[in-house]
Homo-oligomer: 139 residues x 2
Amino acid sequence: MVRIDPAFDGASEPLASLPLCEVRLQNDARFPWLILIPCIDGLVEIEDLGQGDRVRLLDEAVLSGRAVRAIGEALGRPVEKLNIGQLGNLTRQLHVHVVGRRADDPCWPGPVWGQGAPAGYEINDLAVARAAALGVLRL
Amino acid sequence: MVRIDPAFDGASEPLASLPLCEVRLQNDARFPWLILIPCIDGLVEIEDLGQGDRVRLLDEAVLSGRAVRAIGEALGRPVEKLNIGQLGNLTRQLHVHVVGRRADDPCWPGPVWGQGAPAGYEINDLAVARAAALGVLRL
């Protein structure tokens, strides 16, 4: 089991394990937002992954995009555009963000990272979001 | 030849052609910054690419990361972290940003997209940046 940087704990919660990555749900009801963390210690950049794992990472990012769309649908706010980002300026452990965007979201058309304050999920919405994402990720 | 959205023209300039992507140099001396545009018409999301082309895109993004590092070295500002982003909220044609970051850059640790005003390159620096990037991309 790879060590997950504790910085992820406050902002996101565990959702699913895929062949390469742990998938976490960002605790921010403003956007359907998943984070993928490859389960290999010591990675910082995409270039640190071998080519097979790079392919796996991108496949899992595409699958997570479908899960993000499913969250948006389930909460009555269908996703209009996916944003994928690998930054890691603050938390170095390699991770990829997959975020569903809409023209009426609070950061549109700018990026979401570091913008504004996260909005916690209502407990019901959180259950709906988790179930919708898992319906895709567990296929 | 794929049609490149005219929105790219003002902010970046053509640099190189890779097997899948046109590579452009962002006209912003604040960061070494390349943009990859897959040469297939009608793409918006990564999921629109077939799996072979997804692998090519990621390989070319990793190569572009090396080119971004080479620009930073050549201009005396070595890159400390790569940021890779696929947003497309404003310009829908599928494109991937590869940006070199430093803790002393004007947007650190936030994202670069839509932040502050681009700084034009000095003409000499532009030539140095282009040569450094091409030294990697043409290997």
